[in-house]
C-alpha cells in the first residue's frame, strides 16, 4: 500500500517507475491478501477479538470468551464480509457497550442490496417447532446460528460444515442427545457411521427449516405423510438396489388396508413407524427390533389385542402379483385365470346369443 501511495507524492518525474512499482504492489496484494495487515477487520482482531485469552467476566469467577478464530471466519461463506457489516451498531472502536444481538435476516431478506441469498427458509423456520419455541421465548430454542454456527457458516456441501450430511446428526444431537444416541444404534446411524452418505439423517425425515410437530398436517411426520417421507428413499429403486434393501414395501403398504385407511384419512391405522419404530430402526434379524419375529406379537398387539405368535407366520409387505408373496401369489393367479376363463366363456355365449338373434331377424325379414 505504501508503495502505491508514494506514487502521488513523487510527481511526474518518476511516473513510469512508479507505475511499475504500483503494479508490483497490486499483484503482491492480490497474492497475499490474508496475510495483509491491512485487512479491514484488522483492528477488531489486533486489539481484542484476535487474542485467545480475550474474555469477559459475566459473573464473579465466570468468564465468557470473546475470542474469535479468524481463520475459521475466513473459511466461511461470509469471508468477504466485514465485522461491522453485521455488527452494524459498532461505530467506534473500541465499542463502549456490548453490541446488539444480530440476526441473519438483517441481510437475508427479499430485495437486499448486498447480494445475500434469500430462500424460503427463514419463513419456514418461523412456522417450525423451533421457530415457534423461539417466539415463545424458550431460551433453549435454536435459531439459525444454533445449527449454522455464528462465524463459521459453511455451505452444506462443505464437509467441514455443521450442516454437512454426515455432521447433521451430531449438530442436532447437540440438543437432542438421547435421540442422537438412539439414532446411532439404528440402521441409518450405523450406515452413516460406515460412511454411507445417502443413509437417512435427521433432516431427511424431519426436514430442516419446515420442521413441524408430528400432529401438524404439514409435517413430514404426520401419520398421513410418514409413508411418503420414508418412500423418498425407500421408493427410490436405484438407491435401494445400491444398498441391497427391498423396494417393494412402499407399494405393498399403499395397497394394504393400513395404507388405504391412512390414504383416506383414517389415521388410527399403522404407518411405517408404528411397527419399525423411528430413531432406532433395527433389522428384523436383530432381537431388539420390534419387527423381529419374536417381538411381532407384541408389536402388532399394540393395536390388535388378540395378536399372538401367529402374526409372525406369513410374509409381510406382500405384492400378490409377485411370486415372492408365496401362497398369496398362487391364490391371486388362480383367481386371475378363473376370472379370465369364466368371462371369456360368458362373453362368448352372449355374443353367440346376439349373433343368433340378428341372424334370425334378418332371415325373418
Amino acid at each position: 500500500m505504501r508503495t502505491v501511495c508514494s506514487v502521488w507524492k513523487m510527481g511526474s518525474l518518476g511516473q513510469a517507475l512508479a507505475i511499475c512499482l504500483g503494479l508490483v504492489g497490486i499483484i503482491w496484494l492480490w497474492q497475499f491478501p490474508a496475510q495483509s495487515q491491512q485487512d479491514a477487520n484488522g483492528r477488531c482482531l489486533l486489539e481484542c477479538h484476535g487474542k485467545p485469552d480475550f474474555k469477559k467476566e459475566i459473573a464473579p469467577g465466570q468468564f465468557r470468551t470473546l475470542y474469535l478464530d479468524y481463520a475459521q471466519f475466513k473459511a466461511s461463506v461470509h469471508k468477504e464480509k466485514l465485522c461491522i457489516d453485521c455488527h452494524t451498531d459498532v461505530t467506534v472502536l473500541p465499542h463502549p457497550k456490548k453490541p446488539e444481538q444480530i440476526h441473519c435476516l438483517q441481510c437475508h431478506y427479499e430485495g437486499n442490496v448486498v447480494g445475500a441469498p434469500v430462500r424460503e427458509r427463514p419463513e419456514k423456520y418461523k412456522e417450525s417447532v423451533h421457530g415457534k419455541a423461539f417466539e415463545r421465548g424458550n431460551p433453549n430454542a435454536p435459531d439459525c446460528k444454533s445449527c449454522h454456527t455464528i462465524h463459521a457458516v459453511k455451505p452444506p456441501q462443505d464437509p467441514q460444515s455443521t450442516v454437512y450430511r454426515s455432521t447433521i446428526p451430531k449438530t442436532c444431537g447437540g440438543c437432542h442427545i438421547e435421540v442422537y444416541a438412539e439414532y446411532l444404534e439404528g440402521v441409518h446411524g450405523q450406515a452413516l457411521r460406515k460412511g454411507v452418505l445417502e443413509s437417512a439423517v435427521c433432516t431427511n425425515c424431519h426436514s430442516e427449516h419446515d420442521l413441524y410437530a408430528a400432529d401438524d398436517p404439514r409435517s413430514s411426520l404426520h401419520p398421513r405423510n410418514v409413508a411418503t417421507t420414508c418412500a423418498k428413499c425407500h421408493g427410490d429403486v436405484q438407491m435401494m438396489e445400491r444398498r441391497g434393501v427391498p423396494v417393494t414395501q412402499v407399494e405393498a403398504f399403499k395397497e394394504s388396508f393400513h395404507g388405504i385407511k391412512i390414504e383416506f384419512g383414517v389415521l388410527k391405522s399403522a404407518n411405517c413407524v408404528s411397527c419399525h419404530s423411528y430413531h432406532k430402526i433395527l433389522r428384523s434379524s436383530d432381537p431388539r427390533s420390534p419387527i423381529h419375529p419374536q417381538n411381532l406379537a407384541q408389536t402388532c398387539g399394540q393395536c390388535h389385542p388378540n395378536a399372538t405368535a401367529n402374526v409372525a407366520m406369513g410374509k409381510f409387505h406382500i405384492i400378490p402379483s409377485d411370486p415372492e408373496a408365496g401362497i398369496v401369489f398362487y391364490i391371486s393367479q388362480f383367481f386371475k385365470w378363473l376370472t379370465i376363463s369364466v368371462l371369456i366363456g360368458l362373453i362368448l355365449h352372449i355374443f353367440l346369443d346376439l349373433y343368433g338373434r340378428f341372424r334370425l331377424r334378418r332371415a325373418g325379414e
Binding site: C300, N306, T308, N310, M313, G314, L346, H349, G364
Partner: protein, 320 residues
C-alpha cells in the same frame, strides 16, 4: 184482470211461433235441393259414418286386447319367499360392490370422489357391512329354505343333469344356425342353473373371506397371518369376478338382452305370461298341464296348449 192478460199473452205467443214454424217448414219443403246441398249432405253423412266406424273399431280393439290379456294367462313362477331372497341378495350385492370397488381401486380419482361423496372410508365401511349382513342373512335364509318342501322342490329342479349339457350344445347349434330347434327347457334352463350355482361359489368365498377380514382381530388370535393375507386376496379377486359376472352376464340375461330389454320383471312380480312360459319353459308348462289334467281341473284357456307348446318355430323364439 192482470191474470187474464198474462194468460192471454203466452197463447198469442205460441200461436205466432207455430205459425212461423209452419211457414218455415213450408219454405223448406218448397226449397229444391241443388248440387251443392247434395254434396254437403253427402260429406256430412260420410264424416259421420267414418266416425262411427272408428269408434266401433276402437271398441273392438279394446275388447280384443282385454280378451288377449284374459287369454294371456299368468303363472306364478316365483313364490314370495324366493322373490324376497332375490331382492335382498340383489340390494346386498349392489351395496357391497358400490362400497367395495373404491377400495380395490383406491388410487383412482373416482374412488376418491366416491369416498368424499359418501362421507369417508368409515361410512363406506359401515355400508359395506350392512350389505355383508344382508348377504349372510340371505345365505342362511336360503339354507333354511332348502329344508322346506317348496325349497327342496326348487333345489331338485336346480340340480345339474346331463340334459343341461345337451341343451347347451343344442343352444349353440341353434345360435349358429346349424339347427332350427331351440332347446326345450324345464323349470330352469342351464343358464339359470349356472347363475344359481355361481352364487354358491361366490357366497362361500366372499362370506368366508369377508368374515376373516371383518373379525380380523379374532382371526389374528386363531390363525396364522397368511390366512388373513389369503382372505384379503381371495375377497378382492372373487369380488371382481362376481362383479363382472353380474354386470356382464346376469344383466345381459335379465336386462340388456334385446328380447328382454329393459328388464325381465318375473323375479320381482313372480308372474310369467303363458306365452313366455311356453317359449322359455315348455317342459315345465307341459308338466303343469299334466298335473292339472290329473287333478281334473283344466284351465279353460290351456286346453289347446300342449300342441302349441311342442312347436318352437324360429319366429316364435325370435320374439323371446
Amino acid at each position: 184482470m192482470t191474470t187474464m192478460m198474462e194468460e192471454k199473452r203466452p197463447e198469442e205467443l205460441t200461436e205466432r211461433l207455430s205459425q212461423e214454424i209452419n211457414e218455415e217448414l213450408q219454405a223448406e219443403l218448397d226449397h229444391t235441393l241443388d248440387e251443392s246441398d247434395r254434396a254437403r249432405i253427402k260429406t256430412e253423412v260420410k264424416e259421420r259414418l267414418r266416425k262411427e266406424l272408428e269408434r266401433r273399431k276402437a271398441l273392438e280393439e279394446k275388447r280384443r286386447r282385454a280378451q288377449a290379456k284374459r287369454d294371456q294367462e299368468q303363472f306364478t313362477r316365483f313364490s314370495l319367499n324366493i322373490r324376497a331372497q332375490h331382492i335382498i341378495l340383489a340390494v346386498g350385492c349392489i351395496l357391497l360392490i358400490v362400497t367395495g370397488l373404491p377400495i380395490k381401486f383406491h388410487e383412482a380419482e373416482w374412488a376418491k370422489l366416491f369416498f368424499k361423496l359418501v362421507g369417508g372410508l368409515q361410512v363406506s365401511q359401515v355400508i359395506h357391512r350392512i350389505g355383508a349382513t344382508m348377504l349372510i342373512a340371505v345365505g342362511v335364509w336360503h339354507m333354511l329354505f332348502l329344508f322346506t318342501r317348496a325349497g327342496r322342490r326348487e333345489f331338485i329342479e336346480l340340480l345339474p343333469r346331463p340334459k343341461d349339457i345337451l341343451d347347451f350344445f343344442q343352444n349353440i347349434k341353434y345360435f349358429l344356425g346349424f339347427s332350427k330347434e331351440h332347446p326345450q327347457f324345464g323349470r330352469f334352463s342351464y343358464l339359470e342353473k349356472f347363475d344359481y350355482w355361481a352364487v354358491y361359489w361366490g357366497m362361500v368365498i366372499m362370506i368366508g373371506s369377508g368374515l376373516f377380514l371383518w373379525f380380523h382381530n379374532t382371526a389374528l388370535g386363531l390363525f396364522p397371518k397368511y390366512f388373513l393375507d389369503i382372505a384379503r386376496e381371495a375377497h378382492s379377486d372373487e369380488a371382481m369376478l362376481a362383479t363382472l359376472a353380474i354386470v356382464i352376464w346376469h344383466w345381459y340375461n335379465a336386462h340388456f338382452n334385446p328380447g328382454i330389454f329393459p328388464m325381465n320383471f318375473t323375479i320381482f312380480t313372480g308372474r310369467i305370461s303363458k306365452e313366455r312360459m311356453m317359449k322359455e319353459h315348455p317342459l315345465e308348462y307341459e308338466q303343469m298341464l299334466r298335473a292339472q289334467d290329473n287333478n281334473g281341473s283344466v284351465v279353460e284357456s290351456a286346453v289347446e296348449a300342449p300342441s302349441s307348446a311342442q312347436a318352437s318355430s324360429p319366429e316364435e323364439v325370435e320374439n323371446v
